[in-house]
Structures are given as C-alpha cells and as structure tokens.
C-alpha cells in the first residue's frame, strides 16, 4: 500500500522526528560534490534546476525553504522554529559548510521523492500560530485559516469568569482549535479524532503552545450510530474540516498528498459526505437551539447537501454559505432549530 511505503520512505530518506537519522551513504544517491564551493546563490540555482528537471512542483520556492532549513543550527531542525524562505538572502556569497551541504543533500532527496515541504521542515504556520507537522497527519491548508475567523467572529464577547465549550471533529495536527484558543482566553475545546497519529500530534502541539489546560483530545470515530465517550452533554459551537474529497477526485491527487498524507483525512466517499453527515447528526445532539455548526466543504456541497439534509433525522438547517479567498464556496454554516 502506498501509504505504508511512503512512511518507510520517509523514515529512510529523511530520518523524521523520532526516527534516527541515517547517513547519506545508505541512500541510493550520489554524495555531494564539495570540490567547487558554490555560493548560496549558486546552490539555490542548482537545487531549483534539480527539482525543476524532476518536475517537482514549486521548484524555486521549495529550494528556498530547503536552503533556509539546512542553514539552521542542527538542534533546530524539526523544532517549531519557523523556517522562512528568505533567511539565506542575508549572505548570498556565503558558502555551505560540509555538514550543511550534507543536510541539504538529504533534504533535496526528500523533496525529489515528492515529500511535502512542510513535512521536510517539520513545522508550518497556520493563522496566528506555528505548529509541528509530520507524516501521515494532514497538513493544514491555507483556506482553512478562514474557518478560524468564521468561528471567532460568531462567538459572543468574552464574559469574565465564564468559559465557552467548543467541539472540533477531526483536528489532525490541532491547527484550527489551537489557533482559536490562542486568539481567545475564555474558550475550552474538545477534539474528537480517529487517527492515533493525529491524536498524538494534536497533543504535542497543544503542549508546544502551552494550551494543555484548554484542549482535550478524545480518540474516536464519528460515524452513524457511534457512541463516543468523553464528550460533554452540550457544546456552544461545533466546527470541523472533515474529509470531503469525492472518491472520484481522490485518484487525481498529487503524489505529495497521495504518498504522504493519511487518505482517511481526505476521503469523503462517493459524494464527499460520508463523514459530514454523521458530524451534522452529532452536532444536532450536542448543540443548543440556535447553536452553529461550521464546516469546510467541497464547493459542490452547498448544492447537494440541502437535499441530503431532508432525508436525515436532524434539526440542523443550512444557515449560510461562505466563499474562500479564491471565490469558491468553501464553508457552510448550519444552525440547530
């Protein structure tokens, strides 16, 4: 299965996170040629050409991130220090040390194997926070940052001494919940997550951001008839970026996604609604009257969901549809009646 192969590949080539770093010699690649001592600018051009020739998407931007990453002190690799593409520009005439060249070589091999840049760096920015990311847990997408603002803008002003309890289904890396919690001090969040790897990553990121007292993760799968343990009776608001890709579109995904990310975080079934519908039912049970459910969806869902809702035994109705910054219908707000 490509999923397992990709995990093995990740361990072998990149020595990610908890796994030991293998030396370059064990990879079936050439060792870097250090005899010519190129400048950073030249290194950048070389890496860009190499990636471009291999038809790796975003070759120039990837090269910048990889170069910035190899210039970090060894201890910072895979920590949550943000690696910005422009770090290297401070000294374009500088040369790489042998250790840095070796690191860069390893990183380039990972990118040639189509490992997403975010996994190679080990961390990524999302909204107002920086989080760790690691395969196979789903990497947060830029559109989802808008879900954070949607949730925040719908909450009443904070009342001293009072807390609002929110529920997220499928936190993945924990990005959305943690960005929301970072923005407001009066919120408490419960997350339900089916993937053990994602549960661990969400907990790691929660510790990293010092939010352990405000976010709890429950392992479980939201499906029809599921009896989930560890949830409260009621939540003020429910939100989710659930798997919503239609099965037919799953085949067309680029290798960065199909080889490295957990496809269970993407596969929404034939109509992309296999997880969305049970979430709507769960929200109907956990929300008070007038309570909101906010979902990121596929652009076809605003058109097919209303009819589906009628066949469900639920009190949830569509309140509104919100476009993302590319103009696609990306978010749906449902309300409990």
């Amino acid at each position: 299965m490509s999923f397992l192969m990709s995990r093995a590949l990740a361990r072998l080539v990149c020595g990610h996170h908890r796994h030991s770093v293998l030396s370059v010699r064990t990879c079936s690649t050439q060792t870097p040629d250090s005899s010519t001592h190129p400048t950073l600018s030249q290194v950048l051009d070389n890496v860009t050409s190499q990636l471009s020739a291999a038809q790796v998407p975003e070759p120039a931007l990837s090269a910048q991130y990889l170069l910035s990453c190899c210039l970090l002190p060894q201890a910072d690799l895979h920590s949550a220090r943000p690696v910005l593409a422009q770090d290297w520009r401070q000294a374009p005439a500088q040369h790489l040390s042998p250790a840095q060249a070796t690191t860069l070589h390893r990183l380039v091999q990972c990118r040639l194997a189509r490992m997403p840049v975010q996994y190679i760096l080990g961390n990524w920015d999302f909204h107002n926070i920086t989080i760790q990311v690691r395969p196979p847990v789903f990497i947060p997408r830029p559109e989802t940052e808008q879900l954070v603002d949607l949730v925040l803008s719908s909450l009443p002003p904070p009342v001293p001494g009072q807390h609002l309890h929110l529920l997220e289904v499928g936190p993945g890396s924990g990005a959305v919940s943690l960005a929301i919690l970072s923005a407001r001090q009066d919120l408490l969040v419960t997350c339900v997550e089916r993937s053990q790897a994602a549960v661990e990553l969400t907990r790691d990121n929660t510790s990293l951001l010092g939010l352990v007292d405000r976010l709890e993760v429950v392992q479980g799968k939201v499906e029809p008839g599921a009896q989930l343990e560890g949830l409260h009776e009621e939540y003020h608001l429910v939100f989710s970026n659930p798997p919503y890709i239609l099965r037919k579109d799953l085949m067309a995904l680029e290798p960065e996604i199909s080889l490295y990310e957990d496809l269970r975080a993407l596969d929404g079934g034939a109509k992309g609604l296999d997880v969305i519908l049970p979430i709507i039912e769960l929200a109907g049970e956990k929300l008070p009257k007038g309570g909101l459910l906010m979902l990121e969806v596929d652009p076809c869902h605003p058109h097919i969901l209303p009819t589906k809702l009628e066949s469900l035994d639920t009190s949830m109705v569509v309140d509104r549809v919100v476009e993302d910054f590319t103009g696609k219908e990306r978010f749906m707000v449902l309300r409990k009646t």
Partner: protein, 148 residues
C-alpha cells in the same frame, strides 16, 4: 590678551527653538481608511480544486487599491491570513504617503528622526564649543590672571 567672543550665550539662546520642535507625537488622524469595495485581492494559490485536494506552499497575497492603482504583494510569512493582514497594512502606508505627502505617518516619523539627529549633533557641538571655551579661559588666566 586673548579676547574671547561670547559664543556660548548666543548658542544657548538658540537652543530653545531647536528643542521646542522635539515632539514624538505622530498625527495619525489623516491616515486613509481602506474601503473593502475599493480593494482587489488575489492569493497565489493557482487554479484547480483548492482546499484539501491541493498542497501548495505559495501563499503570496496581491492587494490592489482600485481608485488609485496602488498595489502591494506580500509573501513575508507562511500564513495566508498573516500575509493578508500585512498586505493591508503596507497598502495603507502607501496610500497614506500618496494622499498626505510629507504629513503621512511614515514621513512624520522620518522628520522626527531627522530632528532627533539634529538635536544630538547640536548637543555634541555645544559640548565641544564649551570645552574649547574652558580651555581658552584656562590659557588666558594662566597668562595674565585676567578674563576679558
């Protein structure tokens, strides 16, 4: 006998006019406000399905103010929302400079920095003059015990 011109008193007299311009207060009242309807925003995510189906690292935000044609492009952070916020801030600065000229916040700050620098130079010059005067005084006292 040395004749020492009273240089110091005249400098002291001109100090207040220099110092009175010392104000770190920036007038922000005429900073233009951006009307959402006047803005055109484009995020470089490319075409295609977007959302979960795509994983791209490019997230540059291009923001244009339609009435004036001013535009900014921001790719400073790895977060789209952050880039959008920064792009808006940068566009406000550009618009402020265009509309308010030397009274824009940015130019007010530059002027204040210039004044600060001038004051510093003036202070140093005064110190130097004072020391020169004192050493001349000592010299003339040493010669004939009189100050003229």
């Amino acid at each position: 006998m040395l004749s020492v011109r009273p240089v110091l008193p005249s400098l002291l007299r001109s100090l207040p006019s220099i110092l009175s311009r010392h104000k770190s207060h920036i007038d922000k009242s005429s900073v233009p406000r951006l009307d959402q309807a006047d803005l055109q925003e484009k995020v470089t995510l490319g075409s295609g399905p977007g959302g979960q189906a795509v994983n791209k690292t490019a997230n540059a935000v291009f923001l244009k103010h339609l009435p004036t044609g001013l535009w900014v492009k921001c790719h400073q952070t790895r977060s789209v929302e952050m880039n959008r916020k920064i792009a808006k801030q940068l566009l406000v600065i550009k618009l402020d400079n265009l509309v308010n000229g030397e009274n824009s916040v940015e130019n007010q700050k530059k002027t204040n920095e210039k004044i600060k620098l001038e004051r510093k130079k003036e202070k140093t010059r005064l110190k130097y003059e004072q020391r020169k005067l004192e050493s001349l005084k000592e010299q003339s006292e040493g010669q004939d015990g009189e100050i003229s």
